[in-house]
Every structure is written in C-alpha cells, then in structure tokens.
C-alpha cells in the first residue's frame, strides 16, 4: 500500500499548473472544487501510505523512490528522490489534512475576492512545496521545497498587493528568511564537503560510522538552526511573522501557523542524529526556543490586533517545539507540532470568521460581547483556547506537558522554568483574547454592527472539524502517569528518531503535571479578573508601570532597533554607493563606452561619401594591394 507514496506531492502541482494557465477563465465553483480535490487526493494517498507504513517492518525504512537523477556534476550527484518514513508520514498527513480543511474554509472566506484563481493557485503551489520539503530524501531537494514555501509565503502575504503594508510585509518575510537560509545553505555545503553526500541516509550512516566529530556536529547543527530560526520565526529572526498577518486569514492559518513555520522544527527533528552528537547545539536550540517562548508570549499580552496576538502565540508555541527538540525529546517536539497544527489553525480560522462577521475588523477594542451573535464561531474558538492554554484532556495539554517534562527530566531546569512562565502567559493572553472578543461590553462600531452575521457553513464546518481534532488529537500519546506504553506516537516515530528518553519517577511527573495545570488555571483566572470582573485593573496597571507597559506594547522596540541597526545603515550605505559608485563609475563606464563608439563612428564616417565612384576606387586600390601582396 506504500507503492504510490511518491504521488503525494504531484496532485497539487498539477492543479497549480491548470489554475495558473486557465484560472481566470474558469468558474469559481470549478476552481475551488479542483483546488480542494487536489489537496484531498494528496491526503488520501498520504493516509493509504500511512496505513501501509504501519504494516512495514522498521528494517525496510525509509521507503525511497528515485524519480530521476537531477544534478550530475562530477562527484556532486543529486537525485530527485522522495522518501517516506514515520516522520514524513506525520508531516504529510498534517500538511494535506489541515491543508484540505483550510482550503475548504477558503472557499467561503475568499468568495468575494476578485483574485480567486490566483489565491488557489498559490495555495496549491504552497501545498506542493511543503510536501516536497517533508518528503525529499536529501538536503538539496529539501532546500528546494524550503525556498518554495518561502516563495509562496511571500506571494500570499502580499496577496493584496495594492495595500502597501501587505507588499512590504511580504518583502520583509522574504528578506528575513533569506538571512536564515544562508545558514542552512552553509550547513548543506559543509555536510557535502565532509561526507560527500547530502542524502539523509548517507548522513546518518556517516554519523553512526563515527565519521563526524562533535565540533563539526556543533558547527553544522548551529548553522542548520540558523536556517530554522528564519523559517520558524525564532529569536532573532522572528520579526517577519507578526507582519505576515497582512495576508488573508486562511494563509495565516495554513502557512504561518500549521505548516510552513514548523518546517524548522521538522528539519531539526530530521537531523536528530547530528544533534545527538552535540550537546552544545542541542542546548542552544532549547535555550533559544525557551527564550522565544517567553519573549513572544510577553509581547502577545498587550496586543489589540486579534491576528497579531495569535501570531505571537505561534512564535511562542514554536519555541516550545524547539525546547522539545533541543532537549532530545524530538517525538515530543513533533507531537506538539502535530497538536499545534490543529488548535492554532482552528484559532486562526475562528479569528478569520470573527473578522468576516465584523467586515474585516481586527481590533479587539472594537469587539466584545460577540458570543451571542457568533455561537458557531465562539465554541470552536473556546475549545482552541482551552487546548493551547494547556487545560487537561485537550490536545495542547498532552503535548506541552510532554515537552516540559522532558526538559525537566533532562535536567534543563532553566528551560523548564521559562516554559512554565510562558505557559502562564499563554493562558492569560488566550483568555484575554476570548474575553475581549466574545464577552463583556459590546464595543462595536455601529456600521459593523449593522452587517454583523454568522459565517456560512463552509466556514463554520471546518471550525467544527478542527475543534474535534483539537480535543482528541492528544490521545495518541499519553504521559507515563496514565499507564505504561500509552505513548503510541513516540513509538511510531522511533525508527526515525534515535533519542534516548530520560526517565523520572511517576511522583515527580505528577508534580510537574500539577504545576503546569496550576499555572494554566492561574493565567485564565488573571485574565478573568482583568477583563471580566475588574475591568479597570489593566489600565491601572499600565499607569503604574508605564515603562513596562510601553515596552511590551511596542514589542520591546525590536523592529525599531533592527531598523536603526541594520536597515538604516543598509539604506544609507546603498545611497552612498549609488551616488558615488553607481552614478559615477558604473554609469560613467557604460555611457563612456557608448560615447567613445559614437565618436569613432563620427570619425570614420567621412569615408562614407555616398559617391559610388569613391567606393569603387577604394575597392580597386584594395584589390590591387591584395593582389600585389599575394604575388610578391
């Protein structure tokens, strides 16, 4: 049943070609049907291959399919080959499954957009690139997918390119990602020079054959992680993700929450053997992840834009995934990636539904009391918020707990404490969002209130499906306190992930679970006090600590700092070079070449008298001279 796994990425690319060529001439109904069906076909094949994989023995893994030899240059050989193993299976199921639900949602969300075909072309292209990223069997092909999703991200953030802020945000995302990509590319080159191959199997063989020193592993691991910080929005390259919210909301859900931004986590998990050689690289990954988790969560505390809160929340959750990978609990990291895909895309789509209901309003100050108007949006939203806050028995609780427990078990107490701090803030900002949006006084604009309406079923049904998964997705991996061998997810990933789990006593684990639940409840309680019972408290606090509030509200002035430190010098430098080098040297050389050719032409044009006899005379003299030369 796994023979056809290599077909998975090709349905969306086929659909992309058709839509790109004929898109403007096709009816909207057909476009949406084809786009959704292409992703669904990928999902179906992924599911079949996944079921086949369950019956395949681990000794046959990974399944490889070489389609053709792609680059051949001497010793540098790269095949266009795909692979399928348990990690790939999880990723393809998430990408195509969540992708399909979001495609369906987009039918309703984009219904009135004039660039309908363009939207679905990009979405299909994105799905293809993302599937290539997770299915490629070597780093170079993975890099192609990596850049492909970056391109689609750029195109979709700037989808409404008439809006200046949207096209700028697209460029920002592209350029910031490029910085990370430089690190990734260097890592690929180092690996190729050292090992002579970029195939994952060859790299893993080289590592198990002790061909790699710990120092080299640290270098390559850090370079790879630089790539991951770009794509997965970690400190210091996270700045593009909040601005990426300029794109349509389904894009934010698919690319900037569920799939693309998790590519970095996937890559680190894929290279887990390399990271297992270097504790330094692992510690850096975990520490950066933990710092990002707290830093981004603190920025989410004071934001008023509903999508930006979710964007900072995504950055923070990605930080948790990196904590998992950094402390060696790759399965926990991927597990959080998997549950996060459901609840975060649910939250984004629900936020999109709120925006849709309020004619595009994003500011939570102008919402409130929407619960009774939008019940079919409210309840999925609430489920998503509970799941991300880490309340027991929903998916987010299991995955976040798995990560924090692993961090504690590995002895990384600082990372664990940061994770707990982030968890309080997560619960707080999520319920602040819920309370400000759906509860309390109505602060709607009268114009928006007039058009207030619940979203159509094509949008609310995907919410219901995602809400269902946000509840149950966690039950594939239960913590050890509930019984032995319930970590089915971890065991499924074992053939790919060669980590060694740290064990702690059950009593300690109970305590950790109790602490993380307690902080989640605490966060929700504070949010309740601030935004429902004593609504004057937040502004009082803001007045009492004006410096702290302004710092958070302005996102630590990081954008301003980057602007002053990197962008302005670059702009000023470019201007200098333009004025003094481009205009004078380059333009001078180019114009000089033209001018000198002109002058020589003028000089020689006196020979061109126009009189036929002059030409004949020159010809005759020439012929005689030539003859003389030949004869004597």
């Amino acid at each position: 049943m796994t023979d056809l796994f290599w077909l998975i990425p090709f349905f969306p690319i086929l659909s992309t070609f058709i839509l790109a060529v004929f898109g403007t001439k096709l009816p909207k109904k057909y476009i949406s049907l084809q786009a959704c069906f292409a992703v669904f076909a990928s999902f179906a094949v992924s599911l079949i291959s996944f079921l086949g994989l369950l019956k395949t023995g681990p000794e046959q893994l990974p399944l490889l399919k070489t389609l053709f030899s792609w680059i051949t240059a001497g010793k540098f050989q790269i095949a266009f080959s795909l692979q399928f193993d348990s990690l790939t299976a999880v990723m393809t199921l998430i990408v195509s499954g969540v992708g399909f639900i979001i495609h369906v949602y987009s039918i309703g969300y984009m219904a009135k957009d004039k660039s309908y075909a363009r939207f679905f072309t990009y979405m299909n292209l994105f799905t293809f690139s993302m599937l290539m990223l997770v299915m490629s069997s070597n780093l170079v092909l993975m890099f192609v997918g990596w850049e492909g999703v970056g391109l689609c991200s750029y195109l979709l953030i700037g989808f409404w390119y008439e809006k200046h802020s949207a096209s700028n945000a697209g460029m920002k995302a592209f350029i910031v990602n490029r910085i990370g990509d430089a690190g990734f590319l260097l890592a690929i080159l180092f690996l190729f020079v050292h090992i002579g191959s970029v195939e994952f199997t060859a790299i893993n063989q080289a590592i198990s054959g002790n061909m790699i020193t710990a120092g080299f592993a640290t270098l390559v691991g850090i370079l790879l992680f630089v790539g991951a910080t770009g794509k997965s929005a970690q400190i210091p390259l996270y700045v593009w993700l909040p601005d990426a919210m300029e794109g349509p909301t389904p894009v934010s859900a698919l690319i900037h929450a569920a799939t693309m931004v998790t590519a970095g986590v996937y890559m680190v998990a894929r290279m887990n053997m390399l990271y297992s050689l270097s504790t330094t690289a692992g510690n850096i990954v975990a520490l950066v992840g933990a710092l990002t988790a707290v830093f981004a969560a603190s920025m989410a505390l004071t934001q008023n834009d509903i999508k930006r809160v979710l964007a900072y929340s995504t950055i923070s959750q990605l930080g948790y995934m990196f904590i998992g990978c950094g402390v060696g609990a790759y399965a926990a990291g991927i597990f959080h990636l998997y549950t996060h895909a459901f609840f975060k895309s649910l939250l984004f789509l629900a936020a999109g539904s709120v925006m849709h209901a309020l004619s595009g309003e994003l500011n939570m100050q102008k919402m409130g009391g929407l619960k009774k108007y939008l019940p079919r949006t409210y309840y999925p939203f609430l489920i998503g918020a509970i799941a991300i806050a880490g309340i027991p028995f929903l998916s987010g609780f299991f995955s976040k707990d798995a990560i924090l427990t692993s961090a504690y078990a590995q002895g990384n107490y600082l990372v664990w404490a940061l994770g707990i701090l982030g968890a309080v803030m997560t619960a707080f900002y999520m319920f602040r969002l819920i309370f400000m949006t759906f509860h309390g006084k109505e602060r709607l604009e009268p114009e928006a209130k007039k058009h207030l309406h619940e979203s159509p079923p094509v949008m609310t049904l995907p919410l219901a499906v995602l809400a269902f998964f946000a509840v149950v997705a966690g039950y594939v991996s239960l913590p050890a306190v509930f019984g032995k061998n319930l970590d089915w997810f971890g065991r499924f990933l074992e053939p790919v992930i060669h980590g060694h789990a740290h064990h702690i006593s059950l009593g300690m684990e109970w305590l950790l679970i109790f602490i993380s639940v307690a902080v989640a409840v605490l966060g929700i309680f504070i949010a309740y006090v601030f935004y429902i019972s004593k609504t004057h408290l937040p502004s009082q606090l803001a007045q009492k600590f004006p410096f702290l509030y302004r710092l958070l509200f302005n996102k630590y002035y990081v954008d301003e700092a980057y602007n002053a430190l990197f962008i302005q010098p670059a702009v000023k430098g470019s201007e200098l070079v333009y004025k003094h080098f481009d205009l004078k040297v380059i333009d001078g050389a180019v114009n000089g070449a033209g001018k000198s050719a002109n002058a020589v032409g003028k000089l020689l044009s006196f020979l061109q008298t126009g009189f036929i006899k002059d030409y004949a005379l020159i010809f005759l003299v020439g012929a005689i001279l030539l003859l003389g030369y030949l004869l004597f």
Binding site: L604, F606, L607, G610, F611, K613, A616, L617, L620
Partner: protein, 100 residues
C-alpha cells in the same frame, strides 16, 4: 590554334578598359555597361583556361557568371530607373544618398 596568352591579353585589355570606363564616364548606364565588360573579360579568361587545361569547370563557372550578370542587369537597371524618377538625373556624382 591560337595560343592561350592571346586570349589572356585580350581579357586583360577588356578588363582595364572596363575599369577606366567606369571611372571616366559619368552616367550610371555607361558605368553599368563597363561593369558588364569587366564581367565578360573574366568570362573570356575562364573559357581560355578551361580550353587550355581541358577542364569543364571553367565553362560551368562562365554560365554562372552569365546568369548572375543577367540578374544583376535586371536589378541594376531597375535601381537606375528609380533614381531617375526621384532625382531626374542619372549622373553618378549627383547621387550620394548614402552619405554617412
């Protein structure tokens, strides 16, 4: 049997005659005629050498030259006619449209 050198001398005379006529004469038609004379001087030389060496290639080339000369005459006369229509003259020193 007339020696080949006679033919070659005649051919050379004709050729020089053509060149001189081309530079001395002023109207385009005569200049054109002198070109034809030069071509035929060439033909004569070809024929003479073909005969002397008993080769057929020289004669073949002559046929080519005759054909080309005919085509050239057609095109050249047409050009001269058009120049006359435009400028009401066929004197070559009055025509310098291609001056650089």
């Amino acid at each position: 049997m007339i020696p080949t050198s006679y033919f070659i001398v005649l051919s050379a005379l004709l050729f020089v005659l053509g060149i001189v006529a081309f530079f001395v004469k002023k109207d385009l038609i005569t200049q054109f005629l002198s070109i034809e004379v030069m071509l035929n001087a060439g033909n004569l030389a070809f024929i003479a050498f073909a005969k002397a060496h008993g080769l057929i290639e020289g004669q073949i080339i002559v046929f080519f030259i005759i054909t080309v000369a005919a085509a050239e005459a057609a095109v050249g006369l047409a050009i001269i006619l058009l120049i006359y229509k435009q400028k009401k003259t066929i004197k070559s020193e009055d025509v310098n449209l291609m001056k650089g």
